[in-house]
Amino acid sequence: MLAVHRIFQMIFGVIVSVTILYFLITYSGDYAAVQKDRQRGEILVSFTHDARSVYVTGISTNFTHFSKYDFSSCFVNATQRSIPEIICPDSRVSGVPIETPVIFKPGKQVYIGRDSLDYGWWSFGVAEAIPSATFVFNPLESTNEGWNIMTNIVQHLPDTSDDWSVVKVSFAFCDGPQILYVCGGRACEKSDFLSILSSGPLGASFSPCTANLGKNTRLVTISASCGSNREVCVNPPNSKGVGNAFVEGSAKTYVYKDPLDLVALSVGGAEKDDFGRTGAEKIYEYKNSVHMPRLSLAAQVMSKRSVLIAGESPSECGPVYIQLAQVLDKIPSSIDYTSVSEMYDLNDNLNEAKQIYQTLLDLGCERVEYGL
């Protein structure tokens, strides 16, 4: 027969063991979750560092750490109050600040490259972080405008033909049920596709794309009448370079006035998140939220600079500087990028300012060319 103290030992042992075990399991679970969150945070911070380095140096890189966890829901969100943040709605780690302008589409591996919009007197730099993708173009009319749209988009996407790049961004056409791989039966690299586009439309017309699109395929239709087109559809621009674009599943009309708007829409695509927002909408809104205020500020600074140095410059330069300042002063401090008429005026002023700056370069008053 068991002694009383043995029974006490057994009961006490069971209670203590269960308590300790429960505590240890809970604690190790929490500890593992904290460490996982920490790693996710480190990965996002590391991404912001890489994006910044690429933005500053222009040296492209692969970012492969996203393969460790699921970052597919992450996007960069810009607010009016503070600097943009990387938001990951399905994760506890979110809100990592990123001051570098970046067009970001998450993937297991992303290629980070630098791109810029040159205004002559200023350049808007942006890092592009995108995963492997094939951009499939479907130009429904055989026009130079349509071909120019494709050229503009392709020019502003990264060239991943380097051997070291683990991400591949490639290009193809779509005609009806077929995807046309026009580079020897394969999707084209950037330079090859640009040389095909440089030969112009040559009377080629395509039927609306009905082909099965893979997960990493981005369809861009170019048509004067975007009705029920799939993915992203772009109307050719008017003479000022402003046009409308549409995204499948979204009732909004997206006004574009520069190639980066089209890149943002094409890269984002029509895929929706849990809140019904398309990838295209998120990247387009972010891009303009960081681009437009910077453009306004740069115009103000350059205008003041022109006035400041007009009196200190050679006599032939002074009046041109004043002219540049007057044009730049027309750029509003708050730009509504959704307004077609405002974008007409903006592009008008930007083109005029670019021409005046070119005059300053020709006169030898300025010697810096931001990619003119």
Binding site: R52, W122, G125, R294, Q300, K304, R305, L308
Partner: protein, 167 residues
């Protein structure tokens, strides 16, 4: 009676041993937890320091890479810096670079420090962006060697970019 009392004592001592062992185990577990928590706190403190350093480098690099401040190749433009001081409020730049920072650029082609206000240009060599706060806490600053392009004299001067963040 003796046998019974000896047995009870033995039982008592076994229970005491048992409780003592449990106390040691619990103490060991608590010690491990305290160590892990302390370790994590140390990591967080190091992260905080690292983040501040990253922020300083980030602000410096951003300014060197933005044509609003430079004229290409990370060379600051003295006329642009003077224009920024004349046109921009700190709040406008804080929307781009966040809050609680201060930047000073000093060109080394002149003796002393002559602040670059609108009327002093081009005979000046110091640009301060966002006000320096005397009573700010947890300051962390770093100097970077940079170049400043002197527009009027068409020369490039050696300069120091000082970036400071605080809380």
């Amino acid at each position: 009676m003796d046998c019974k009392s000896t047995g009870a004592r033995k039982g008592q001592s076994e229970i005491m041993e048992y409780i003592l062992m449990v106390v040691f185990i619990v103490a060991a577990i608590i010690a491990i937890i305290i160590f892990l928590t302390w370790w994590n706190l140390q990591q967080f403190q190091m992260d905080t320091f690292k983040n501040r350093q990253d922020r300083v480098v980030g602000i410096g690099q951003y300014m060197m890479g933005d044509y609003m401040f430079t004229n290409g190749d990370s060379v600051f433009d003295d006329a642009k810096l003077t224009a920024i001081n004349a046109t921009m409020t700190c709040q406008e730049l804080q929307k781009i670079l966040g809050t609680n920072w201060y930047v000073k650029i000093k060109a080394l082609d002149m003796d002393g420090e002559k602040p670059c206000r609108w009327n002093d240009y081009p005979d000046c060599n110091v640009w301060s962006i966002c006000a320096y706060k005397e009573n700010a806490k947890d300051r962390f600053g770093q100097n970077f060697p940079v170049n400043v392009y002197r527009k009027v004299s068409d020369k490039t001067a050696l300069a120091v970019l000082y970036v400071e963040v605080y809380s």
